[in-house]
Amino acid sequence: MKKSLFVGALAATSLVAGIAQAQTLQAVKDRGELNCGVSTGLAGFSAPDANGVWQGFDVAKCRAVAAAVLDDPMAVNFVPTTGQTRFSALASGEVDMLARNSTWTFTRDIDLRLTFVGTNYYDGQGFMVNRELGVSSATELDGATVCIQTGTTTELNLADYFRANGMSYEPVPIETNAEAQQQYLAGACDVYTTDVSGLAATRASFENPGDHVILPEVISKEPLGPVVRDGDKEWEGIVRWTLFALIAAEELGITSANVSELAQGTDSPEINRLLGSEGDLGAMLGLDSEWAVRAISAAGNYGEIFSATIGDQTPIGLARGLNAQWTQGGLMYAPPFR
C-alpha cells in the first residue's frame, strides 16, 4: 500500500517534470555536458578508477551518447545514484539518462512513466554455493540458509522459486554486495543469490574462486537497459539508436579500429547508412551524419565494450551467453538502420 502510494506520487511528479523538460537534447547541447546517472559503484559496470575517471560497461554507454551528441566522450558528468534515488533523479531532470543496470519491468515502464530504450545486458538471478557442499542444482537447496539483499526484486524471485519447487529456506538479510561477500565467506549462509553478473564479479574477487560454483539455474529475467524520461521522443530516439548503433556495429564488423576507414564509404549500404556516408539518418535524429561514427569510436562496438569491461579477459570474466549477437545464438538484435 505504502509502496504503491509512493510510486503513484512519483509518477504524478515525474509527469509534471516530464512536461516541463521536453527539450533534453537542446539542454544537453547548451550545457555542453551529458548528465548520466550511474550506480555508485558496481564492479565492471560503473566505478571510478584511481584517477577518478569512471570506467565500466554502463559508463561506456554514457560516453557513446556523449560522443554522438557532443563530439566528446569525456563530456559526461557522472551522477552516482542509489537504488532509491535513481528514478527520481531521472524524473526530476537531475540526470538526462540512466545507465544504471535497472531492470526493465512493467511498472517502471508504465506506472513510473519512464522509457526503457532497450536492453544492453540480459541478466538473471542465480545462486552461488561453496563447492564443498556438493550441490549441483538449485533444486537441491531445500532448507538452505540464503544471503539475500533486502528490498530488491531478487528477494521476491527467491520466494517465488522456492515456493514453486516446494522447498523451504532461511533468509539472511543483508544490505550491500560487500556485506554479502563477508557473510557468505564467513559461512553465515550456504547460498548467495543475486544477478548472475554480480555473482561472477563477486566470485572473481574471492581468494580461491575455484572453491565456489555458480549453479546452472537462472530463476528470473533481468533485462538491464538505459532509461530516459517519457515525453521526449527526440532524446529517447538518440539514446535508443546509439545503443542499437553499437550493437549493429558489432554485427556488421565495425570496430573502433576500422570505423573511420569504413566511414569513407563501403560496398555495404547498411554500413554506409549507419556511418552516414549514405542517407540522412543522423539528421532525422537531430544530429549530424557522423553521429554513429563518433559513438562507435568512443569505446568500440557492443562486443568491444563487453570484452573490455566485463568479458572473459577481465577479472569479472562473464561469458557472452544471452548477450551474444542473434547470429551467434544470443539475444542482441538491433533493428535495421534504414
Binding site: 555508485t40 564492479a43 566505478a47 584511481a50 552516482p80 542509489t82 533523479a89 560487500a178 574477487s205
Partner: protein, 432 residues
C-alpha cells in the same frame, strides 16, 4: 622497682631500626595488581577472563595487522605478496588515499583544500583558546569567505560581495540605533538581505568585468571523501550553534508568533529522521524548483544538516537556560540591562557553560551523521569505499577501508571530545 624491670627485660634496643622496604606484596606493581586485579575470587576470575579475551583478540587480529601489505596495485597483488598467509591489505589506502581525502577534486588543485584545512585551525584557535590575541578573531570572521573561495574558486568578488552584506547590516544597525533600538535590529536584518538580493549580483558582475580576479572554479560534484564530510560537518557545526541559540531563545520568548514558529520548527525537525530530510533535499526540492535551476546538492545537504542540528542544539541550550536560577534573570533586570545585553552578559555565558557536554554531543553526532549522505549518492568516505570496492582491482576488500575511515573519524571526534573536557575543566562547570 627499676631493678626488677632490668631483670625481667632481657634486651632493650637502644638504636633505631633502619628504614626497610615495605613487604613485596604491599608495594609497587604487585600491590597494584593485588588491589586492582586480584582483590577477590570474583575479580580474579574476571581478570583472567579479560586476559583471555584480550589474548584471543590479539591472536586473531595481530598477525593480520602485522602482515600488512602497504605497496600493491590490486588485491590480487596483495594476495600474491602475502603468499597464502593471513594479512591486511592497506595498500588500498595507499593507492586510493587521495580519493578518500579529496574525492574527484582536480589533483593539481589539492593545495586549496589543504590550505583551507590549515587555515581552519588558525581561524578556530582564537575561538577555542582565550589566551591568543583577540585580533585573530577578525581572521575567524573572514574565514568562511576565504574557505569558500579556496574550495570552490570562481570569481573572488562573489564571497566579497556576500561579506559586504554583513558589513551593510552592521553599518545599518549602527546608524539606526541612534534613532530606535528595535528599528535598528530590523535594519540590521533588512539591509543585508536587500544587498544580497539586489546589489550583490551587479556588484559581482561589475567588479569581475573591471578586475577579473579569482581561482579556478571547481564544481561541487568534484567534492568527495573526507573533504565532503569536513565541509558539511564544519559548516553544520558552526552554523547550528548560533541558530540553536536563537531558536532556544525564541522558544522561551513571550511573543506568541516567534514562540510558535520556533516550537513548530524544532518539533518538526526533531520528529523527522535526518535521512528523510536528506532525501527531501536531494529529490523533492528538485520537483518544486523551476526546471533548469541547478541548486547545488552539497549546499542543499548543508542546509538540511544545519537545520537538523540546530533543532537539537536549541533543546540542549534550552536545558542550560532552564538550569539557571530565576534570580539570574531578575538580577539582570535589576541592573537595568536590556534583553540582548542580559542574554549576552549574564544568561548565555552561564547557560552555554552548563550545556557544554550536550553541545559537544550534538557536534560529534552531527559530524558522524555526515556519512548518511551516502544514501543520496554523494561520495563521502563510506560512499567512496563502495566505489573503490567496485573497481575490479580492489573488489573483495572490506575491513581495511572501514578501519581507515573509522580511525580518521575517531581522530576528529576524539579531538572534539578532549577539547570539551579541557574547556569544562577550565570553566569548572560542576561548581566543585
Amino acid at each position: 622497682m627499676s631493678n626488677i624491670e632490668s631483670h625481667t627485660i632481657a634486651y632493650v634496643r637502644d638504636t633505631m631500626i633502619p628504614e626497610q622496604d615495605p613487604p613485596i606484596t604491599e608495594s609497587g606493581a604487585i600491590k597494584w595488581l593485588r588491589d586492582n586485579l586480584f582483590s577477590g575470587w570474583l575479580n580474579t576470575v574476571l581478570t583472567l577472563l579479560s586476559l583471555l579475551v584480550i589474548w584471543w583478540a590479539i591472536a586473531a587480529i595481530g598477525p593480520w595487522l602485522w602482515n600488512t601489505v602497504w605497496n600493491a596495485g590490486s588485491l590480487r597483488e596483495c594476495r600474491e605478496a602475502l603468499g597464502g598467509t593471513s594479512g591486511a591489505c592497506f595498500a588500498v589506502i595507499n593507492d586510493r588515499w587521495h580519493q578518500l581525502m579529496f574525492g574527484f577534486y582536480p589533483p593539481r588543485l589539492y593545495w586549496r583544500p589543504v590550505l583551507a584545512f590549515v587555515l581552519l585551525f588558525v581561524a578556530l584557535s582564537p575561538i577555542l583558546f582565550t589566551n591568543l590575541p583577540r585580533k585573530l578573531l577578525y581572521f575567524s570572521a573572514a574565514y568562511p569567505f576565504i574557505a569558500y573561495h579556496l574550495l570552490w574558486g570562481g570569481s573572488i568578488w562573489l564571497p566579497i560581495g556576500a561579506a559586504l552584506g554583513f558589513v551593510a547590516g552592521i553599518v545599518a544597525f549602527a546608524i539606526v540605533r541612534k534613532i530606535n533600538g528595535l528599528a535598528a535590529i530590523f535594519a540590521a536584518v533588512i539591509a543585508p538581505v536587500f544587498w544580497w538580493l539586489f546589489l550583490a549580483g551587479p556588484f559581482d558582475a561589475t567588479m569581475s568585468s573591471i578586475l577579473p580576479l579569482g581561482l579556478e572554479f571547481v564544481r561541487s560534484d568534484r567534492f568527495g571523501g573526507f573533504l565532503i564530510s569536513l565541509v558539511i560537518g564544519v559548516t553544520g557545526i558552526s552554523l547550528s550553534l548560533p541558530l540553536g541559540i536563537l531558536l532556544a531563545l525564541g522558544r522561551q520568548s513571550d511573543m506568541v508568533f516567534v514562540k510558535s514558529v520556533c516550537v513548530i520548527f524544532i518539533e518538526f525537525i526533531r520528529g523527522v529522521p535526518l535521512i528523510t530530510l536528506l532525501f527531501t533535499a536531494s529529490l523533492l526540492l528538485n520537483y518544486f524548483l523551476p526546471p533548469g535551476t541547478s541548486f547545488d546538492l552539497i549546499l542543499r545537504v548543508i542546509i538540511m544538516v544545519t537545520l537538523f542540528a540546530a533543532a537539537y542544539m536549541a533543546e540542549v541550550i534550552r536545558g542550560g537556560l532552564a538550569a539557571l536560577p530565576r534570580g539570574q534573570y531578575e538580577a539582570a533586570d535589576a541592573l537595568g540591562l536590556d534583553y540582548w545585553k542580559a542574554q549576552r552578559l549574564i544568561i548565555m555565558p552561564q547557560a552555554l557553560k552548563i550545556s557544554i557536554p550536550g553541545i559537544v554531543n550534538t557536534f560529534i553526532g552531527l559530524f558522524k551523521d555526515t556519512t548518511l549522505v551516502v544514501f543520496i549518492g554523494l561520495l563521502d568516505p563510506i560512499g567512496l569505499s563502495n566505489a573503490i570496492r567496485a573497481d575490479t582491482d580492489w573488489q573483495g576488500i572490506y575491513w581495511e577501508l572501514f578501519i581507515f575511515i573509522g580511525a580518521l573519524f575517531f581522530v576528529f571526534c576524539f579531538g572534539i571530545s578532549r577539547y570539551s573536557m579541557y574547556l569544562e575543566r577550565k570553566l569548572k562547570t560542576d561548581h566543585r
